[in-house]
């Protein structure tokens, strides 16, 4: 579905190789400045790589026009302005631009918008101005806009940063359901615990390089947590649920290099 081959972007991404298939829920983790946002932008085709290629359905994505890309890959940037002067429904309808660039929505477009609103639980808010929603609801509206695009691949840049715990779990559960439905969902995450709980696969970036790719249990080794995230931590089995969890005890002081 998506194939990344020897991807370079200036010094910020170096020789990234990975392949993703339908139905996967992938957590993209790494410390601040590791290159997560840059990688997502390159995967969405918004950035033109300086080397290598991102292939979507067999085609180099950056070489195709924006509307072709948007029908295949729905990308949610990290920050959404909080002064958008539209209602939730109008905002979600914007996701249909690649299908209806003049804003004249067909019945199929309307159906896609209705479904996206329903999946994200926003039907009752559809006529509310976006600016009146809480942060969590606004983020759900943003994800609904991505869903309305009808793309089989979803790339989300920290969709749950700055949300309270209820919305964090709520949004991740909804995204996992979307992956189980056959979509490829890739999310940049800061919360390693949540990556462990919700993603079957985790890829870890460090200084622009892909340093680990596998199930969360394989990726989050004490050595990686020490070297990449600079914390003293180890995974353990939760005695109540049997799930894998992290026990984080301390930040490792920075040492002069």
């Amino acid at each position: 579905m998506m194939d990344i081959r020897h991807l370079h972007y200036h010094r910020r991404l170096e020789d990234i190789c990975a392949a993703f298939g339908p139905g996967e829920m992938v957590g993209l983790v790494g410390p601040n400045g590791a290159g997560k946002s840059t990688l997502l932008r390159a995967m969405a085709g918004v950035l033109r790589p300086t080397g290598g290629v991102v292939q979507v359905m067999g085609e180099a994505i950056h070489a195709r026009e924006p509307r072709w890309r948007a029908r295949r890959v729905a990308y949610l940037p990290q920050f959404l302005p909080d002064d958008i002067p539209f209602t939730v429904r109008e905002f979600v309808e914007m996701g249909r631009y690649s299908h209806a660039p003049q804003g004249v929505l067909s019945r199929a477009d309307m159906a896609a918008v209705d479904e996206a609103l329903a999946v994200m639980g926003l039907v009752e808010h559809e006529d509310a101005p976006l600016a009146h929603l809480s942060g969590g609801e606004r983020q759900r509206a943003a994800i609904a806009r991505c869903l309305a695009q009808g793309a089989p691949i979803l790339l989300l840049d920290e969709p749950i940063a700055s949300l309270d715990i209820h919305y964090q779990l709520d949004i991740l559960a909804r995204l996992r359901a979307l992956a189980e439905d056959g979509r490829l969902v890739i999310i940049a995450l800061h919360h390693l615990e949540l990556a462990l709980a919700y993603c079957q696969r985790t890829i870890c970036l460090h200084r622009g390089r892909l340093v680990a790719d596998g199930s969360p249990g394989e990726v989050f080794t004490p050595a990686l947590l020490r070297d990449v995230f600079r914390v003293d931590a180890r995974p353990f089995r939760d005695p109540h649920s049997g799930a894998l969890r992290l026990s984080v005890s301390a930040a490792i002081p920075s040492t002069p290099e």
Partner: protein
Amino acid sequence: MTRRRAWAFGALLFALFASAALEIGIGPVSIPFWQIPGDTWAYFAGHRGLDAVVVGAIRWPRLAVAVLAGSALALSGAVLQAILRNPMADPGVIGVSSGGALGAVIAVATGLSARSVAATPLLAFASGLAVAAVIYRLATSARRTDVYRLLLAGVALSSLCSAVITAILDLSPLEEMQQMMFWLFGGLDGSNWTEAAMLAGVNAVALTAFLRLSFAYDILTTGEEHAEAVGVDVERIKRASLAVAALIVSVAVSTTGVISFVGLIVPHILRRLIGANHRPLLAASALGGGVLLTLSDLVGRTVVQPAELNVGIVTSCLGVPFFLYLLYRQRRGRDIGL
């Protein structure tokens, strides 16, 4: 919102009719409203009585140019505000109008305007587009346009264009100089049917193009990154819109001279009334710009009778306080309605 929109459009249409009747009726030769259709008919039927000539050859073309130039300015203002994500954008404030005026003055000074009616608007377009391109380059960095850089670049380039215009005026013979002075102040004297037809043509092209892009303008309010993510070709749409905006502003300026602030005031007020959705906003701006410029011309023609004020002076008297009010609100950190 739908009902409010219907009311707003109704009010705009009524204002347009009322101001049109006043614009044709009021003047040194006063024409009662009920005689306007008859006199118009008489003029086009070939009669050359005083009333028929005043209505058909002077007042109607002046009204048409006022409405169409006002539409051009307000439309381009609404589009500039959308693509620059900047509520202070106006073709006059950012210098495109002065650029257009410079081209028009060069056309007259070099004698090209005497050879072809198309020379003045074409040269105006070339220099208006050049100014727009320079401003866009200067004010855009890291994928966003900065309000203050945009305004400062506009001030600088406007001054430069005005200085060059003044230099050309200084070096010109007296009668040409008087002809060219008109571009600096903006006036509707001597409007004719050829100018009105030219404006109608470019306005129709621009309005069609802008309406086709209106959904993309809506999406641009969510930020360029988000617009790109849903498939908007942001750079292409911005460049094309800027070029078309420069075209209608330059053609308007080449017929009326520099008229500032219509493009700032009209979209702002209408956005409050009918919302940020660009399809109705652009249509309403086209109407509202025509109304505002016609009313301003009426004020200019009547306040200091028997003399007349240039319409550009009237719009500046309205626009400067409005502009300063917007700056004040921005300083207070309030939203400015985009």
